[in-house]
C-alpha cells in the first residue's frame, strides 16, 4: 500500500486550497501576482490539470504549522509527482494517484485545514474540490465554443481519471465520490449559463473576449466588478507561498497590501493586460495538447525484457571488442610484457580476462573511448545501445525510439535464429525463449505505436492460410479419424492379447482371428461385438468346443431359458448367458464410440489449433518484419503523429476565431494597424535560431551577456527586426536567457517572445 493510502497516518492529505490559499479566487490571485517571468503556464491537458491542482495543494501545505505538515515520505512523493509533471516526458500517473488520494481522504482533517486558512471559511472539503475542478478550465488561449466544449467534455472526465487511480475503495466511499462527481457535473453545467453567472469561477470560465467585454461595460457603468461572490480577507502572496514572492518591480507595485483583498476583477484586468502584452506567448511544449501521441508506454514485463536483451547485446559488443583488443595486444607483444598469455582462451574467457582485471579494463576502455578506426565501431554501437536503453528507461518512450527498438530487436532475432540452428538442445531452448520474449515486446510496441491489434490481424492471416474454420475442419475429418481410431484400437487389443498369450498364439494373429470367428459363430455375435468384448476385458478363449460344454455342465449359474457360457474377464472365470454377453458387447460398443468421438474431436481441435497458432506466429513474425525491415513505416508513423499535431493546432486556432464577426469600424482599425506591406523574415528567423549552432548565434553561451546581446541585436537586424543591444540588455533576464539556451525550441520561443514584448512596449 502506498504511503498516500494510509489513512491512519497524520497529517492526512487535506483538501487542496483549504489549507492556504483558502479560496479559489485566492489561488487565481496568487498565480496572477507572480511576475511574468515566474508565471507558470498550465497546459490544457491531464498534465496541466494535475500540475495546477498539486501546485495549489502544495502552496496550501506550505502554510501549515510545521507539526501539521506532510511527513517526509508524503512530501517526497508530492515533490516527485510535481517533478514528473514538470518533465514533459515524465509519467503523470504518480501525480494522478496523489490527487486521487487527496480527494479520497478529503474531510478527515478539514477543520484543521480550514483553521490554517481562514477561521471564517465555511466551505467543506467537497465544496473546495468541486470548486477547484470546476476551475480546471483550458488556458486562456482557448475561447468561444471551443472552450465551452472542452469544459463540457473534460471536467467530469478529469475527476473520473483521478478516481481511476484509486484502489481498494469501499462501497460507501464510492457512493460519496459519485455524489461529488454529480456535483461537479452540475457545477460544470452552471458555468455555461453566462447570464446567470454568480461566481468568479463562472466569470473566469467565460471566453476571454466575453470577460473583457463585460468588464469594460461594467467599468463604464461605474461597477467595479461583475456579480461575484464576496471575497474573504486575503493574506499576502508571501504568506501564501513564500517561494513565489520574488517579484519584479512591476508586480511588486501591483501586489495587494497585506490583509487587504484585491478585487478579483483587478486580477482579471491584469490577466487581460498580460495577454495583450503577449506575456502569455506560451512555450512550445506547453501549447501542444496530447503530447502523449509522441510517446509510448511499455509494460513492466517488456521493460525487463528490453533491459535484459539490450544489456546482453552490450555485453556481446564488449566481448567482441575484448577479443579483438587481446589479439591486437598479443600481436604487439604487449600481453607478454604483462606476463600473461591469451592462448587457449575462448571468447568468454578473453572478455573476463580483460574486464575482470582493473588495470587491463582501464587500458581497454581508454582505447575504446578513442573511437578510432580500430575500435570505433564498438564504441559507436555501445553508444547507440546506451541511448536506446536510456530512452527505453523513460516513463514515456519517444515515438522514433519505439521503432528503432523494434528494428534492433529484429536484427537480434535474426542472429539468434542462426545461433539456435547450431546450438545444443538446452541452449536452443533458451534462445527460443528469448525469441518469444523479443517477439512479445515487438508486438506490444507496434500495437501501441500504430494503434492496431496484431493479434486480430495475424488471426485473419492465419485463417487465410489454414483455410477451414476449426469446427468445419473437425467435422470434415471426424468420420475418417473415428474409423482410424477404432481400427487402431482393435489392433492394439489384438497386439495386447497376442503378447499376453505368447505361449498359445506364438504371436500369430491369424490364430486369434480364427478363434474369434469361431466364438462369433457360437455366440451369434458379429465382429464388432467380439472386439467390444475383448476391449471390455473378456476373453473368447474356450468359448467353443467340448471343453466349453463340459464347463457349462458344471456351471453353478444357470438362467432359465438362456444359453449359458463360460467366459473369462480379466482372467477371472465367470458364467454368463449369451444374451448377457450381447448386452455387454452392445454397451461396450456404445461407450467406445462415444469415447472415440470425444478423443477424435479433441485430437482434431488440438491439431487445428496447433497448426493455426504456428501460422499465426509466422504471420506475426512476417508482419513485425514488415515494420522492422525498412524505416518506411517508422518514418510514416512519426510524420503522421506530427502532422496530426499540426492539424490540431491549426484547427484549434480556427475554432477560436471562426465565429468572430467584426464591425466595419473594427475592420477599419485592424486594417490601419496591421495592413502594412512590411514584413520580416520570421521563418528564416525561426530556422536560424533553431539551428543556431551552425550560424552566427552559435557563439551564444549565456556567459557574456553584454557581448551576446550585441550578437543577438545584430542578428535581429539582419532579419529586419530592430532592437538595439541596450534595449535587449534591459529585457534579457540572465538566468532565463541561459535556461532558454539549453533548448532549441525554448530559445526560439524566448527570442520571439522578446520581439513580441518589445514591440508591445514600444507601441
Amino acid at each position: 500500500m502506498s504511503e498516500f493510502e494510509n489513512r491512519e497516518s497524520e497529517p492526512e492529505w487535506s483538501t487542496p486550497g483549504v489549507g492556504e490559499p483558502d479560496s479559489f479566487e485566492e489561488i487565481g490571485l496568487q498565480e496572477n501576482n507572480q511576475s511574468p517571468e515566474q508565471e507558470k503556464i498550465y497546459s490544457d491537458d491531464r498534465r496541466g490539470y494535475a500540475m495546477k491542482f498539486l501546485d495549489a495543494y502544495k502552496a496550501g501545505q506550505e502554510n501549515f504549522p510545521s507539526n501539521e505538515k506532510l511527513d517526509e515520505e508524503k512530501e517526497t512523493e508530492l515533490n516527485n509527482a510535481l517533478k514528473f509533471l514538470n518533465d514533459p516526458s515524465g509519467d503523470i500517473k504518480l501525480a494522478e494517484d496523489v490527487i486521487a488520494k487527496i480527494i479520497k481522504n478529503r474531510g478527515k482533517k478539514i477543520q484543521e485545514s480550514i483553521r490554517f486558512g481562514d477561521p471564517e471559511s465555511k466551505g467543506t472539503a467537497d465544496e473546495k474540490i468541486i470548486e477547484y475542478i470546476a476551475m480546471l478550465t483550458p488556458e486562456d488561449g482557448e475561447s468561444g465554443n471551443r472552450r465551452e466544449n472542452l469544459q463540457e467534455d473534460r471536467r467530469t472526465a478529469v475527476f473520473d481519471r483521478y478516481l481511476e487511480s484509486l484502489e481498494g475503495i469501499s462501497e460507501e466511499e464510492k457512493d460519496k465520490l459519485e455524489v461529488l462527481r454529480e456535483q461537479i457535473k452540475k457545477a460544470k453545467s452552471d458555468v455555461g449559463e453566462s447570464s446567470k453567472a454568480s461566481g468568479s469561477a463562472a466569470f473566469m470560465s467565460l471566453p476571454l473576449e466575453e470577460r473583457k467585454k463585460r468588464y469594460d461595460a461594467m467599468k463604464k457603468q461605474g461597477e467595479v466588478r461583475p456579480e461575484v461572490k464576496p471575497t474573504k480577507p486575503l493574506k499576502s502572496a508571501e504568506s501564501v507561498n513564500p517561494k513565489k514572492t520574488e517579484k519584479t518591480t512591476e508586480t511588486v507595485k501591483k501586489e495587494p497590501k497585506e490583509g487587504v483583498a484585491e478585487e478579483p476583477v483587478e486580477a482579471e484586468e491584469r490577466d487581460f493586460e498580460k495577454e495583450m502584452r503577449g506575456e502569455k506567448f506560451t512555450e512550445f511544449e506547453a501549447t501542444i495538447e496530447e503530447q502523449s501521441e509522441k510517446f509510448g508506454d511499455l509494460s513492466d514485463e517488456s521493460r525487463v525484457t528490453v533491459d535484459s536483451i539490450l544489456s546482453a547485446e552490450a555485453k556481446g559488443v564488449y566481448r567482441e571488442f575484448a577479443v579483438k583488443w587481446i589479439a591486437d595486444k598479443s600481436k604487439r607483444g604487449e600481453l607478454k610484457d604483462l606476463g600473461v598469455s591469451a592462448k587457449g582462451m575462448d571468447d568468454d574467457a578473453k572478455f573476463m580476462f580483460v574486464f575482470g582485471d582493473e588495470k587491463l579494463k582501464r587500458q581497454a576502455l581508454a582505447d575504446l573511448k578513442e573511437n578510432n578506426d580500430q575500435y570505433g565501431k564498438y564504441g559507436h554501437e555501445l553508444d547507440r545501445l546506451a541511448d536506446l536503453m536510456k530512452d527505453c528507461e523513460k516513463k514515456k518512450i519517444p515515438i522514433e525510439t519505439q521503432f528503432i527498438l523494434v528494428n534492433k530487436f529484429e536484427k537480434i532475432s535474426k542472429r539468434l535464429e542462426k545461433e539456435a540452428a547450431g546450438a545444443d538442445e538446452k541452449t536452443k531452448a533458451e534462445i527460443l525463449k528469448s525469441l518469444d520474449s523479443i517477439l512479445k515486446v515487438q508486438q506490444e510496441v507496434i500495437e501501441k505505436a500504430m494503434n492496431i491489434s496484431l493479434d486480430t490481424e495475424t488471426t485473419k492471416d492465419a485463417q487465410d492460410v489454414v483455410g477451414l474454420p476449426k469446427d468445419v475442419y473437425v467435422s470434415s475429418k471426424m468420420s475418417y479419424t473415428e474409423n482410424k481410431m477404432a481400427v487402431e484400437g482393435d489392433e492394439k487389443v489384438v497386439e495386447k492379447i497376442l503378447l499376453e498369450n505368447e505361449g498359445k498364439y506364438h504371436g500369430d494373429k491369424s490364430k486369434l482371428i480364427t478363434e474369434m470367428l469361431g466364438a462369433q459363430r457360437f455366440l451369434g455375435i458379429d465382429q464388432d461385438q467380439a472386439f467390444a468384448l475383448l476391449h471390455t476385458g473378456y476373453s473368447i478363449d474356450g468359448v467353443r468346443g467340448p471343453g466349453f460344454i463340459d464347463t457349462i455342465k458344471n456351471a453353478k449359474r444357470i438362467i432359465k431359458g438362456e444359453e449359458m457360457v463360460v467366459v473369462y474377464k480379466d482372467g477371472e472365470r465367470m458364467v454368463v448367458s449369451t444374451r448377457e454377453l450381447k448386452d455387454i458387447a452392445g454397451d461396450s460398443i456404445k461407450s467406445r464410440k462415444q469415447e472415440i468421438k470425444s478423443t477424435a474431436e479433441k485430437q482434431l481441435s488440438e491439431e487445428w489449433e496447433k497448426g493455426f497458432q504456428e501460422e499465426k506466429k509466422k504471420a506475426l513474425r512476417s508482419r513485425i518484419s514488415g515494420f522492422a525491415k525498412t524505416s518506411e513505416k517508422a518514418e510514416g508513423k512519426t510524420e503522421g503523429v506530427y502532422d496530426r499535431m499540426k492539424n490540431r493546432l491549426v484547427a484549434e486556432f480556427l475554432d477560436g476565431v471562426i465565429n468572430k464577426e467584426r464591425t466595419p469600424e473594427e475592420l477599419k482599425v485592424i486594417k490601419k494597424e496591421f495592413g502594412s506591406k512590411k514584413r520580416v523574415d520570421i521563418v528564416g528567423f525561426i530556422n536560424q535560431v533553431y539551428n543556431r549552432e551552425a550560424g552566427e548565434l552559435g557563439v551564444l553561451t549565456g556567459e557574456d551577456i553584454d557581448g551576446e546581446v550585441k550578437t543577438i541585436s545584430s542578428f535581429f537586424g539582419a532579419c529586419g527586426i530592430k532592437i538595439g543591444a541596450a534595449a535587449l540588455k534591459k529585457i534579457v533576464n540572465p538566468a532565463e536567457y541561459k535556461k532558454a539556451l539549453g533548448s532549441k525550441k525554448g530559445f526560439v520561443d524566448y527570442l520571439l517572445n522578446i520581439i513580441v514584448k518589445q514591440n508591445k512596449s514600444v507601441k
Binding site: E400, I404, T630, F674, V756, N759
Partner: protein, 73 residues
Amino acid sequence: MENLLLTDENLKGMITLAKISQAQKDQLISKLPELDEDDRLKLLNMLKNVFLLDKEKEEKIQNVRSDWEGTEE
C-alpha cells in the same frame, strides 16, 4: 511603432510557408484581415509551433534513418 510580426503581410508569408494543407492555408489567410492583435499573437504562436513541430519531426525522422539497421542477413 507598428508590430511587424503581426502585419497581414508577415503572417500571410508565414502561413504560405507553413507545411499545412492548402485548405487550412486558405482558411487562415481569409480570416487574417479580421484578426485583432490578440488573435494575431495567437496565430503567430500557433504558426511558430507548427514550424517547430516540423523541425522536431525532421530530426526524429533523421534519427530513425541514421539508426535503422538492415535486418536481412
